[in-house]
């Protein structure tokens, strides 16, 4: 098994773990973290792809990952601010606020 294939499979596994975390546990913070884990999995597949055209390293997937990180930060921030707002409007933290 080549190195880049190994990392790709790990990335897809991370994507799967994140998917489980998003769909199954009821807590909203877990879901938001799970989305980030899924994103990391995708980024890992992309980084491995950059490596797969050895000996040269392809910079395009790196640029995609950088953009993806920015998007992930923005999405996470929006989700957390929505959670804070919902929390402020209610006194029950363990609500299943979304899925």
């Amino acid at each position: 098994m080549t190195q880049d294939l190994f990392y790709s499979i790990c990335g897809i596994a991370l994507f799967g773990i994140g998917l489980y975390g998003l769909l199954i546990p009821p807590h909203i913070l877990q879901k938001i973290l799970a989305v980030n884990v899924m994103g990391t999995g995708v980024f890992m597949v992309l980084i491995a792809t950059a490596q797969s055209r050895a000996p040269a390293i392809d910079p395009v997937p790196h640029a995609m990952v950088l953009t993806g990180i920015v998007v992930a930060v923005a999405g996470t921030a929006l989700a957390l601010s929505l959670v804070c707002r919902i929390y402020a409007l209610s006194d029950d933290t363990e609500q299943d606020a979304g899925r």
Partner: protein, 505 residues
């Protein structure tokens, strides 16, 4: 054609709303300036009309491409416009203009207006960029801008139900985007390019292509809210402010459908199978039935309209089985694409009119619980009239745009020799009649135990019912101007495909 070149205008379709977003953010405390947003929307409409006119006047009959920064594919990012994209941009700009005018008098609180306008313009940026994108990764970025702006707009309504709907919408959107991005990553790994046209030539049936197609499809279906992935749509669309609901139902869900059509019928068509196309059609037919039945059972006016969107989106998916697997040289064109594109436009106008009318009724009555809306026709005649016309278009009664759209769809189904889809189209129309007449019936009857309360009725600004009415009129006018719309659609379709269609007919 001196000086005016079409490709050079394309970046402005994205740049103009982006400038407006920045300007409305910088000048957000300047309350009197909110009418400038309507001027901006008029400018966007003028630009879209100019682009569409240049596209239709071009004698080559080909799509137009603009290479940002002169880099060109595969390294650079290209913008591409053909008839389908041009019409989507035109309908976005036209609805954007009417909805902007409406929003000027809907958001009268300075705080609300200051938060609304930058997000609204970002939504326009993202929609135009999605329709112009010729690059798979660029589509991911534009989808995320679209998703984040739409979620923030839903959350503007405040209150727990809207915020929870927004949060659910956000998580579903992020899940959809990540599935899409993983699909794009697999495509890049297999073929080494992100340009849609280049991918279209390289893609062949292989396990990696199938995996990528599956992931992209699931991601975009989540965003298009096709049954059974529609659970997030009704709360999000029903709890948003009225102009936002209208834009979400009329335009935003169509953007991801547009991408699905591009991927399935153009870029990745080599990896699709006839069974896969049929499955999408069956899911669409199921969505028509289930969405309509849930609309009939809903107890809130805006929920009825939102479930109606779930149902109407189902019709669009008949595109896939009726179009079939295209040959190698085929573009996105022909009678079936005409029918579906026309359906998108007719539904966009009708649904926007309906959401604005429902929003007016909700604002005037203070609620939208339909069991307490007896006799609303007397107090909100113009809004209810708009609701009725839009409803007639959804049912498919002549002479509305919805009638022409369904007629084209029925013809396409018969031409394709797949008559069983006719049952769906006709049953969907009857079910739509049930939920539209349920509202109209209540609106025109005075309830015995509840005399119409005259005291606590706020007076609506005149522009609010007029906005809904204007859209309803456009819906009817569409029914009379079908031919021109269909001509524009054939731009960018290779002539081979047209000839083949001619023989089939």
């Amino acid at each position: 054609m001196s000086g005016l070149s079409l490709p050079a205008l394309l970046p402005w379709l994205v740049g103009l709303p982006l400038l407006a977003a920045a300007a409305s953010f910088a000048g957000q405390r300047w309350v009197a300036g909110r009418w400038l947003n309507a001027v901006g929307a008029a400018a966007q409409l003028a630009l879209a009309v100019l682009v569409l006119w240049l596209l239709a006047a071009g004698d080559s009959g080909l799509g137009q491409r603009y290479t940002l920064g002169g880099w060109g594919a595969p390294l650079g990012i290209d913008l591409y416009i053909d008839g389908f994209a041009g019409l989507m941009i035109a309908i976005t700009a036209a609805l954007g203009f009417v909805l902007s005018l409406y929003s000027c008098s809907y958001f009268t609180e300075p705080d609300q207006a200051a938060r609304f306008w930058p997000l609204w313009w970002l939504l326009m940026v993202a929609l135009n960029a999605v329709f112009l994108a010729a690059d798979a990764f660029n589509i991911y970025v534009t989808l995320e801008i679209l998703g984040l702006a739409a979620v923030a707009l839903v959350a503007l309504q405040g209150g727990r139900p809207a915020l929870q709907a927004a949060l659910r919408y956000l998580l579903v959107g992020l899940l959809g985007s990540l599935c899409y991005l993983l699909g794009v990553a697999l495509l890049y790994r297999a073929y080494g390019t992100l340009d849609l046209a280049q991918l279209g030539q390289l893609v062949h049936a292989a396990p990696l292509s199938w995996a990528a197609l599956g992931l992209i499809t699931v991601g975009l279906l989540l965003k298009t809210a096709l049954l059974p992935l529609h659970f997030w749509l009704p709360p999000a669309h029903a709890n948003a402010p009225a102009p936002v609901s209208a834009a979400l139902s009329a335009l935003v869900v169509k953007a991801s459908f547009y991408l699905l059509a591009r991927f399935w019928l153009e870029t990745l068509s080599a990896a699709t199978t006839a069974q896969g196309l049929q499955v999408l059609g069956v899911l669409g037919a199921a969505a028509v039935l289930v969405g309509s039945i849930q609309a009939i059972r809903a107890q809130r006016l805006k929920l009825i309209v939102a479930y109606s969107t779930v149902a109407q989106l189902g019709y669009l998916f008949l595109l896939f089985p009726l179009f079939g697997r295209p040959s190698d040289t085929a573009g996105l064109g022909g009678a079936v694409v005409d029918a579906v594109a026309y359906f998108i436009i007719a539904h966009a106008c009708a649904k926007a009119a309906m959401f604005l009318a429902a929003g007016n009724i909700q604002r005037a009555a203070g609620h939208d619980d339909i069991s307490r809306l007896h006799g609303i026709a007397r107090r909100q005649p113009l809004s209810l009239f708009a609701f009725a016309i839009a409803g007639a278009s959804l049912i498919g009664l002549p002479p509305s745009g919805g009638f022409v759209a369904k007629w084209l769809l029925l013809n396409a189904a018969i031409d394709a020799g797949q008559w069983w889809w006719l049952i769906t189209v006709i049953a969907g129309g009857l079910l739509a009649a049930v939920y539209v007449f349920r509202v109209l019936n209540l609106a025109f009857t005075d309830s015995a135990e509840q005399p119409p309360a005259a005291e606590a009725q706020p007076v609506l600004p005149r522009l609010l019912p007029l906005g809904a009415f204007a859209l309803a009129i456009i819906t009817v006018l569409l029914g009379f101007n079908a031919l021109w719309v269909l001509e524009v659609l054939d731009i960018g379709v290779p002539p081979l495909q047209l000839a083949a269609d001619g023989e089939a007919l």
